[in-house]
């Protein structure tokens, strides 16, 4: 009882709660999201269905693992997308950051709680969609072992934090320039490709996939899904976790540095 009350009092909890309350005022958005997800899924799966005619395995994926791959990819994409955080960039641009500066709280955690709250909402609809898709594709859906599922959730959790930190750090560029549309365009092109959302990274030509694996992106989506599909050996899973955390630390440090320099600049001329 004590712990529950203490938890309720944290800023973190309050922000998440408010975030959820706000997001739930947009229920129709979620209903439509279902259609947005279903249509592409049908197209992609039908395409691969034709390609798999007469074949069993392509690049280490069976038809069923690939179908499962795409279902998971579409369900997780919105939650794990490391795009620019518009809350942060508009806070900086419009001077709303000043409101946060005069309060004794941590901006990084505040935004994390904000995003967590919103995504908790999405997760609920995602869960619902997951059930529907599993039923629709019950013959083709892959069900992992118990430990496979555990590791999967763990890797998604780390991926979520990683995605947030990348998003936060990139958004800090607003301290130095108002023009961020170009970065957005860049991200919109690179991310769907590099995270493996559109096609598993291992399908790319050797050189491409090597380059992509040098970036953190495949560890956000492709890696967790591969863990789910048991496509990786134990050593690969372990090293995958390690690399996820490594990138997390790198971007966290980069974020801290950018924040202190950016804040100095903001305090010099912004507000």
């Amino acid at each position: 009882m004590q712990l529950k009350n203490i938890l309720k009092e944290t800023v973190f909890f309050r922000v998440i709660l408010n975030s959820i309350k706000e997001a739930s005022t947009y229920r129709v958005n979620h209903l439509l999201s279902f259609l947005v997800i279903l249509l592409p899924l049908i197209f992609v799966l039908t395409l691969w269905d034709s390609v798999f005619a007469g074949k069993n395995i392509i690049n280490g994926y069976s038809k069923f693992s690939l179908i499962t791959y795409y279902i998971l990819s579409i369900l997780l994409f919105d939650i794990l997308y490391p795009g620019l955080n518009y809350n942060i960039s508009s806070d900086i641009k419009d001077g709303k950051l000043s409101n946060f500066l005069i309060k004794p709280m941590n901006y990084l955690f505040y935004n994390f709680a904000l995003r967590a709250g919103i995504n908790l909402m999405y997760s609920v609809s995602s869960l619902f969609l997951t059930f529907i898709f599993i039923i629709l594709f019950i013959d083709s859906f892959y069900f992992p072992s118990f430990w496979g599922l555990i590791f999967f959730f763990l890797s998604v959790f780390i991926a979520f934090i990683l995605s947030y930190i990348i998003s936060f750090t990139l958004s800090l560029i607003s301290f130095w320039t108002e023009e961020i549309t170009w970065l957005n365009v860049l991200i919109d092109i690179i991310v769907p490709v590099a995270t493996g959302a559109l096609i598993p990274v291992s399908f790319f030509p050797k050189t491409f996939s090597r380059i992509i694996y040098l970036s953190p992106f495949p560890y956000i989506l492709n890696f967790p899904i591969d863990v789910y599909l048991s496509n990786r050996s134990d050593e690969e899973i372990l090293s995958g976790f390690f690399i996820q955390i490594l990138w997390l630390v790198i971007f966290y440090l980069a974020g801290k540095i950018l924040w202190s320099y950016g804040l100095k600049k903001y305090q010099a001329c912004g507000g």
């Binding site: 909890f13 309050r14 408010n18 309350k21 706000e22 005022t25 419009d94 500066l101 309060k103 010099a268």
Partner: protein, 324 residues
């Protein structure tokens, strides 16, 4: 407890080009213009004072407030608030200040105001019973008790502002910075908000620094006025002082037992109101002399020295200054 010494703040502003060629050139070789927001200003404010900080647009008012609250840091000079250096933004410092920015809301838009209050409760670690007491108290004073559960976007501008105020005062800050708190509000809301802050200042001995365009705000609320123009302080003192200092003329209303004697006209410009009432416009510097003389006149029943509106005084001052 607020000490500002030789505060200078200079902004480096990017100069933009007018046509494509200049824009490209400035992209590679950026050019800056230096804008001096505050120039070597100094003042001290004691605990519990209610200070009005006024000046024309761009004079440096908001900049000063932002430096005092730690949002900006000074280019030169020394600023101490309750012993803290603001831009260091130490937690203990942040817990005792509050900044109300008229234009930038801190309320969450689609949900009830009470939810934002609960968030602030968590941020400032306000105990449960104190929180409840504060919310009830403040909401009562501002007459918004039954609006607490309504989504903020459904409230009127005046109601929203009152919620902002509650939000800003939940943690009982010792120092309040108010930046244009009544901007855009209707007359009644402005009145009730002014009343509120006057009482708040009296009861809680909170130090309040207020900037406003509305002279009525300053007139009603502040006792001490600091006028800043083009980065420098041109007046720092009591409200009444400006009136004496900057308005050249006063108006005296006189009521006589009999008809208004024509000799009164020698003191200044005379306007007859009716048979035995008149208005006399005299130079401020002559006020004491004229009053002395008038008292010696047995015929006079009443003497009123009209309050020169602060607005008039300040306008007069700025009018003069711009000629220079």
């Amino acid at each position: 407890m607020i000490h500002v010494k030789n505060l200078t703040k200079i902004f480096k502003v990017n100069i933009q080009g007018n046509n494509t060629i200049e824009v490209v050139r400035r992209l590679i070789f950026p050019e800056y213009k230096e804008v001096v927001a505050t120039k070597d200003i100094s003042f001290s404010i004691n605990e519990g004072e209610f200070v009005g900080y006024i000046g024309p647009n761009g004079a440096g008012k908001t900049t000063t407030l932002k430096i005092l609250s730690g949002i900006l840091y000074p280019t030169h000079g020394d600023v101490r608030v309750m012993g803290y250096i603001p831009y260091k933004r130490e937690t203990d410092f942040l817990k005792i200040i509050s900044f109300l920015m008229g234009q930038k809301t801190q309320l969450w838009w689609d949900i009830a105001a009470i939810e934002t209050f609960k968030l602030n409760k968590a941020i400032y670690k306000i105990p449960d019973n104190l929180f409840k007491k504060r919310v009830d108290e403040l909401a009562n004073l501002l007459n918004v008790s039954d609006l607490l559960e309504i989504p903020v976007r459904k409230l009127s501008l005046g109601e929203r502002m009152k919620m902002e105020i509650i939000s800003a005062l939940l943690h009982s800050p010792k120092i309040l910075f108010l930046d244009e708190p009544t901007l855009g509000l209707d007359m009644f809301s402005q009145e009730s908000i002014r009343e509120f802050f006057i009482n708040y200042n009296k009861e809680y001995k909170a130090t309040i620094i207020l900037t406003s365009h509305y002279i009525h705000d300053i007139e009603k609320m502040a006792k001490r006025i600091i006028i800043i123009n083009q980065g420098s302080i041109v007046y720092d003192g009591d409200k009444s002082g400006i009136i004496d200092k900057f308005s050249k003329e006063r108006i005296i209303r006189l009521k006589f037992k009999t008809e208004v004697p024509s000799e009164i006209a020698r003191f200044g410009m005379l306007t007859l109101e009716n048979k035995n009432e008149c208005k006399l416009k005299i130079l401020t510097k002559d006020l004491r002399e004229v009053i002395k003389h008038l008292y010696q006149n047995d015929n006079i029943i009443e003497i009123f020295v009209d309050e020169v509106p602060l607005e008039y005084a300040i306008k007069e001052y700025f009018k003069r200054d711009s000629i220079f």
